[in-house]
């Protein structure tokens, strides 16, 4: 097997570090950055696509460049990383260890909204800034935790962008499905409000639980209503399922939009580029959005032999960029880092970014679309990397 997979790559890199560690004790000069993330269990699917490969690659790049510049001195980064086994109690316990026993200098966040919620009180109590790239929801923002920063666009912002695009295309009706999870509910609430404002009619709305294996009756019902747009506020299984089954029944409205995992390269690979041609979804970037993005993309492909996803991966990278800039600017005083993050406009791979409270208020909602095997940004126009295919071509 000549396949370098992230887990294995990370395993080799970190095991080597662990084995060497006793012989060569981490220099007191190293900056220790801790995190717990899912390497096993159901959360690992997302965590190992979007998050941990970026953490590891970032640390490698920083160290290859001699380390982080703290007060004029280059200091290397040492990652203190644990598996959280996709278990909430383990997440909390591990961050307690990182913050109070290991006394790491900084932390990186765990994967997912729930786990980020769970460690927010710890972050505030022990004063560790969190730059979270896989946590979305107004409820998180509403906690008003001074140490918490959400890098992803919020659901209502994402939905507003979609609504604007629909208005621009004079789309009048939409059928919606959403997953019964916090994400799906918040997205739907945002969508409903946006649609109302823009005068777009939701002709049918259905929700479904995780673990569904057949959506064709639902999709058929929607097909019969002939909506202009189909909007699926889905998690990965629903994203794959509704694509395949819509294709099977020939449900191909002018706009076909899906949420989580649409931006994953595996979505294109599993469904084939021809099939996903014209499918829209949440995105933020792609290698064409800028030189920095291209460099990141190439480095990721080189390091992990796979492409990063076109949504949260870049947000994750942006978070690491912000952290790096903060440390190099104000040193390792975490209060100062927090203030720096909160008060500065940051230059990142996905553009300028500024926080208001916990919210990233700079990155707009983005609509992307698969075209010829690339997830092109098609809305808003000033960020677009390609013109939108409208209406969506029939399934192939």
């Amino acid at each position: 097997m000549n396949r370098s997979t992230p887990i294995r790559g990370i395993a080799v890199a970190l095991t080597a570090a662990a084995v060497l560690a006793p012989a060569m004790p981490a220099s007191a000069q190293d900056i220790r950055i801790g995190y717990a993330i899912a390497r096993s269990g159901p959360w690992a699917v997302g965590a190992q696509v979007t998050q941990e490969p970026n953490y590891v690659m970032w640390a490698e790049q920083v160290n290859a460049a001699g380390g982080l510049n703290v007060g004029g001195k280059k200091r290397k980064v040492e990652l203190v990383a644990y598996d959280d086994r996709s278990n909430m109690e383990t997440v909390v316990r591990t961050y307690e260890k990182l913050m109070t026993s290991d006394k790491v200098d900084l932390i990186l966040p765990p994967w997912g909204t729930g786990a980020n919620f769970a460690i927010m009180p710890l972050a505030a109590k022990h004063g560790y800034p969190m730059l979270s790239c896989t946590a979305a929801g107004r409820k998180l923002i509403g906690m008003k935790n001074p140490y918490f920063f959400a890098l992803l666009q919020q659901p209502d912002v994402i939905m507003d962008a979609l609504a604007e695009y629909m208005v621009a295309r004079k789309v009048k009706t939409a059928a919606v499905i959403h997953v019964d999870e916090l994400f799906g509910l918040e997205m739907y609430t945002g969508l409903e409000a946006s649609m109302k404002r823009k005068g777009i009619q939701i002709v049918e709305k259905k929700s479904y639980p995780l673990g569904i294996k057949d959506l064709s009756p639902v999709l058929k019902g929607m097909q019969a209503k002939k909506p202009d747009a189909f909007i699926g506020l889905t998690y990965p299984p629903g994203t794959f399922l509704s694509t395949g089954q819509s294709k099977a029944i020939g449900f191909s409205p002018k706009i076909f939009y899906l949420a989580v995992a649409t931006a994953f390269p595996v979505y294109r690979d599993k469904m084939t580029p021809a099939t996903v041609e014209g499918v829209m979804g949440i995105g933020s970037w792609n290698p064409k959005t800028g030189a920095e993005a291209k460099a990141y993309f190439d480095a990721h492909v080189k390091r992990w032999k796979k492409e990063p996803d076109r949504w949260a991966s870049a947000h994750c990278w942006a978070g690491l960029q912000i952290l790096q800039a903060a440390v190099e600017k104000v040193g390792l005083d975490r209060k100062k880092i927090r203030d720096y993050i909160a008060g500065t406009e940051h230059a990142t791979i996905i553009g300028k970014m500024r926080f208001k409270g916990s919210e990233n208020v700079s990155t707009p909602g983005v609509v992307s679309q698969w075209q010829n095997g690339e997830f092109e940004v098609v809305w808003p126009p000033q960020r677009a990397t390609s013109a939108a295919l409208f209406p969506k071509p029939d399934w192939k």
């Binding site: 598996d83 909390v92 316990r93 307690e96 109070t100 769970a118 906690m143 916090l182 639980p209």
Partner: protein, 312 residues
Amino acid sequence: MSLPSPSRMRGVPFALVLTAGGGLVLATLPWLLSDFLLALALSCLMFAALAVSWSMFCGPTNYLSLATSAFFGLGAYVTAWGLESMPYGLTVLVGGLVGAAFAALIGLAVLHLRGAYFAVITFGLTELTLHSVTYLEKTYANTAGRIISEAPENTVIYWTVLAVTLLAIATAILVRASRLGFALSGIGGDEERAQTLGVNTRRVKVIAFSLSAFFPGALGAAMAVRWTYIEPLSVFNPFIGFQTVLIAMVGGAQTLLGPIVSSVFFSLLTEFLRLRFPYAFLIVLGLLLVVLVLYLPGGLASLFVRRGRQHA
């Protein structure tokens, strides 16, 4: 539970005193341990209480219940729903009572099933509860999870869980000595025979099942505050139930000490392996489990309890 008969009461006062003494020692841990070690102790206590209460019913009767997660999750939701209007201690009590009441309800419906069918139906009921709560929350509260904003201190959580654990152990000691426990082992031996000897087996089973469900309910309510965000998938996580069964059976569900030793053993071992070998640790754990079951079929308890077997 009626009063134990004198002969079986032998050793009970000693065991209770030992439990109380151990409890006092453990109660000082918050002053001795770091936050992380305290959290680890908390996890040991939680699984000890879960495994002991599981064994309380399932040990003597040979039932295999996978409903622990359901009781735990309901308890957690009592906290999620009630913490704003109730003090923490009260939610723990109510959580336990809700767990017990739910167990009594489902016990009436499903305790006539045995073997794999009972295991599957208790699992099914847990999932049914999970998805019903999800559905109700979504439909009536338009939410998928709840936030606990005012969590008590870690030490308070620790002492609460310790109290629940001690209560579980004390209850297990008393049940084993009581007529209830005697009836349960008769049911485990031959249920119909126990009936012909005057045991209202249905009532006994429902009472014991319900009693044993108080503790996971209370623990769910006590532990929920550690997670800030309560969602059905994490508090009704079937792995809580699986792990409980695993710990209790590997320890030896027929014994009292087995599940306690096993929960400490497994919590510490898992944590050690997880921290020391961040990648392969679950593989090691899996191997270890297989080897343990194959070569120590009597459970960990068989290492320190030698059961004399005479033959006539």
